[in-house]
Subunit: 186 residues, 2 copies
DNA sequence: GACTTTATATAGACCAGTCGTTATAATAAT
DNA sequence: ATTATTATAACGACTGGTCTATATAAAGTC
């Protein structure tokens, strides 16, 4: 409904992605989103924690959706997962290594310092896991096997994003794509 | 030689691990390390960036050393890597999920906002990769294969740490250990 | 050996600026 | 007229960084 609210969340997402929770200031959010401070506290009366938690959850939902869509395009799980990761690799590259998972930094910064944000990150990761999990089930994997693989896939992707952004090359992500493809094909 | 300098770096490491770069303040570092601000700027005249870069590099060197030591205890690469990861899992668990890789958060926060810290993170990750790489070479892998596997191993571990800290269970890390063991055994 | 000079290191007050947050006033929409 | 939203100003707390004062120790000079 409200444009300003959505704009704030979207801007927050981008900033969290680039510089994490503590590195992102409310002043920066309002400047970049164009919304004034009054509006920010009108829509998010509980302040920074609330904005962050909602941004994280929204981003998790959107990413999970993208995973599901990408996976429907191919009936082959190995190729589907690999393609999805190659997509991320391009995205990270195109952003000049400023983007790639708004969750990672936030999750690490707040794992033991904000129960609310931690819960949001946990739920967001569960959404990603579920998206992969469901596709694997669909491809005939057992429930426990699908669960294990989904966690492993998310782990490898997260790590790949970190290494890619740090090294300023998408190669680590592409390598993760390749390795997971082999693993899932076997 | 100097005790205070070392103490500052060690404290910084622990705080970076727990709450990242922007979440860690100089006042917190001096309070926790016992050194006054005068000493901090005496040993690190270039301020927070310098302290962080040095802490990251030191931590990378120490972790790489631990990897090499752990790997010499077993001639079997698969078991050696798995055991190392299980060690991390215990460490993360014991810390109440506050510890586990001082690099991750810092690397993501500063990938495009501080060339100095980014360079330090990059070098630290290279050290970890090299440690695994050398062991894989020793076990008969080809140079390119060893390089690919080393990157993949580091990726999976980093991701496992994130998921473990976020979910407050060491299970993801243990799962990563198991999967990599299978992968390396084949 | 006594005395001065130079480095090493500790200690903390202080600065301008920013943080997240609150309060209040003005405006727009219904 | 009532509510929804925007617009600022101000708050106290804290930020990274600078500055000066002091203590300790090493080295140089006679």
């Amino acid at each position: 409904m409200s444009n300003a609210r959505e704009q704030i969340l979207q801007t927050t997402c981008a900033l969290l992605e680039k510089q994490g929770y503590h590195g992102t200031g409310l002043n920066e959010i309002i400047k970049e989103s164009g919304s004034p401070k009054g509006s920010l506290y009108y829509y998010f009366p509980e302040g920074k924690e609330q904005i962050t938690a909602e941004a994280v959850l929204q981003s998790g939902g959107q990413t999970a959706e993208r995973i599901r869509q990408g996976l429907t395009e191919s009936s082959n799980a190995a190729k589907a997962v690999s393609d999805f990761i190659l997509n991320i690799a391009e995205h990270v590259e195109r952003s000049g290594f400023a983007a790639g998972s708004p969750l990672t930094a936030v999750a690490m910064e707040t794992a033991t310092t904000s129960t609310r944000i931690n819960a949001a990150c946990h739920e967001a990761y569960q959404m990603l896991k579920s998206a992969f999990h469901d596709k694997l089930i669909e491809c005939g994997y057992s429930k426990t096997k699908a669960d294990e693989l989904a966690t492993f896939i998310v782990s490898a992707i997260e790590g790949g994003i970190i290494l890619s952004r740090t090294s300023h090359t998408a190669d680590p992500l592409r390598l993760v794509a390749k390795q997971l493809k082999v693993l899932l094909a076997s």
